[in-house]
Amino acid sequence: MKKFSLLVFLLMVSVLLVACGDDKEEGNASNAASGDKKQTETAKTETTEPVEIEFWHAMNGDHEVWLEDAAAKFSEENENITVKLVNQGSYGDLSQKLLAAAKAKTSPTIAQAYAEWMTEYNANNLVVDLAPMINGENGFPADASYEDISEVFRVDNTFGDKVLGLPFNKSTRVLFYNKDYFEANGLTAPTTWDELAAAAKTLTKEIDGKQVVGMGFENGLAHEISMWFEQAGGDFVDEKEGKVLFNTDAGLRALTFIDTMLKDGSARMAGEDGYLSGPFTRGDVAMYIGSSAGLAYVAKDAGNMNWSTAPLPKDVEAAAPFQGTNITMFANSTEAEQAAAFEFMKYLITPENTVDWAKATGYLPVRESAQQGQDWLSFIEENEAYQAGNAQYADGFIDVRLPGSYAMKNAISVELDKMLFEGATPAETLEAMSTKAQEALDQAK
């Protein structure tokens, strides 16, 4: 009796296993094939058959509205192509769903992705090399060439000789400051670390009955710590060798700088407030370093407060991280879908569209011609807060893209938290951060 039910059960399980087994063979074959056929096929982008492409994104609010408009306009211009936008929630959700979809061989045609994710996709042969399409007949037009895209964004998408994505929503970090507080105290926006520290000290006092803290750091400080190391004249990680380089005097200087401000009370963490846009617009914090993508949020909440942004203060060097996602293309799609998706990816960053997008969201135009174009320049002339980002391209650098960089950042965050919240000394924190980060990288090798 028992044996019989067990038998039935085993039978069911084995049916399941077989069913799953079948799939993957097919997936393998199409994966391998897509690589070499592509080059010849992409020439015929003028699709005659209707194609639907699926785009998974994590854009919400106004950002999503813009994207929907753009997709609708694109479909009007390209009658055969339908773009199906799928909002997957947050970046975290998007990442998890992309992982599950890749395993189930049901990846979308294209999706937003950080370069860090693309490293993993590349290692598992999940994404398409766009280089043949870019260099093919239907590549970029001459008046909006691929080379016109800012170098820092092209580098972010280049893995060896492969191009695995095109930039879309890119941001940088800027200094947000409360103009009212600064002017009332005879201060201008700081351009160096020393000025930053001095301004923070001056502004840490009671203003209009409020206990103001001069400077604020976002909770995700671990994710921008490379910026502080670079500005102090140090290095972060050698991407080629997978070696951690920040355990130096410059590294110590950066941590000491942050720690000193936190200890003497002239700076605070976002802490329980989550992000600093809240305390900043309430007037609790006089300035903070945050993502330029937060411009729209600050503008919405600022009310009567006068505020602006400034380029990041420098120490030994000027250094500005450029962040945000790219759009990458998954390999389990047909050539027709890939060609159609490539059209859409180009469309999102035409000189007109990338400026339009930047105006609506606070992200950055990804093309040099757009950054220097009359349209954008006159816009930032009128909207002072958007200027800082535009001034930083020359000092731009991108995130580390190594297998294990997620684990590395996690390890850095755990150790850095001990200094930020628990009073560990900068020296021991730096040592621990460096050791743990190197361990994480070594494990992934």
């Binding site: 039910s5 087994g21 890749a102």
Partner: protein, 292 residues
């Protein structure tokens, strides 16, 4: 005849079996094998080498040890307090008839509310400046506590939230248990001159033993698996400096964050083994102690 009946039973059970098979049994078997993947291509299901590498990794990984330690602290912090508190409240509710149902509903609400919503509310309760918790403590001259941003208090905050959240369910189970105890026992005890306390110790507790056993098993298993509360309370982190990292959170991080699928599966099986041993132990003890 018997065969026919069995076939019929299997037929009726098959929808449920199919769902359990696909979403529970198959993943369990699969992850069991995955925990022995040493070198593999996850997306194409190609395994180059099987081995104990993942378990060796866990044995040496300080982060995993921390996760284990935190998980045990969590279980020890939540389960006893939760059981005692819910038993006490259930006894109170059982002895009043007026508003009984109303209070029962009140206590049950946290259990049916989404963990994420609850955690957001508790984030405000725990806020060091604006939170009601610190305001309340200030009446007793306690200095503001950094509930969510200090490594010392992250775990206690999580434990408080979890106790509060699980209370309602335990109370309902205890109430059901209390109602099955016949009045005859109490009346007999009264005749023997037993006072309230004696009746509780010698009638209620022994009669309630099976219920207590059930509640403790469910609570222990549930507490070992804690995840949502952490994710929501600390905003997608395992508390400052991993101070609220538990085993399931560790599994989640290894799987979705680091794409370290083998280690994630191995960690899940270590947790499975621990829960299994604890449950066996409880069954053993209950056989000895529940004597009627």
């Amino acid at each position: 005849m018997k065969l026919k009946e069995t076939a019929k039973a299997v037929l009726y059970l098959s929808p449920a079996l199919l769902i359990i098979g696909v979403f529970t049994i198959y993943p369990m078997i699969k992850s069991f094998f995955m925990s022995f993947y040493a070198e593999y291509d996850y997306f194409n299901d190609v395994v180059h080498r099987y081995g104990f590498d993942n378990f060796v990794y866990l044995w040496n990984d300080a982060v995993f040890h921390k996760a284990l330690q935190n998980t045990f602290i969590f279980v020890l912090g939540v389960v006893p307090v939760s059981i005692l508190l819910s038993l006490w409240i259930a006894l109170m509710l059982n002895s009043i008839t007026f508003l009984n149902k109303f209070f029962r509903t009140i206590y049950f609400i946290p259990f049916v509310t989404s963990v994420v919503a609850v955690s957001i509310v508790w984030r405000w309760i725990f806020h060091s400046n604006y939170g009601i918790m610190n305001y309340f403590l200030s009446w007793f001259g306690v200095d503001p506590i950094n509930w969510l941003t200090s490594t010392e208090w992250a775990m206690p905050s999580l434990i408080i939230l979890s106790i509060w959240k699980g209370l309602g369910y335990n109370i309902i189970i205890f109430l059901a248990g209390l109602q099955t105890i016949g009045d005859t026992y109490y009346n007999a005890a009264r005749i023997d001159g037993a006072n309230r306390w004696n009746r509780f110790i010698h009638v209620t507790l022994p009669q309630l033993a099976p219920t207590t056993f059930f509640v403790s098993i469910i609570s222990i298993i549930g507490s070992f698996k804690v995840f949502d509360e952490i994710y929501a309370l600390f905003d997608g982190k395992a508390g400052p400096s991993n101070s609220a990292l538990t085993v399931v959170y560790y599994v989640f991080d290894k799987f979705y964050g680091e794409w370290n699928f083998g280690v994630a599966s191995a960690a899940a099986y270590v947790l499975f083994a621990i829960i299994f041993v604890f449950t066996l132990l409880q069954f053993y003890v209950s056989k000895k102690k529940i004597t009627y």
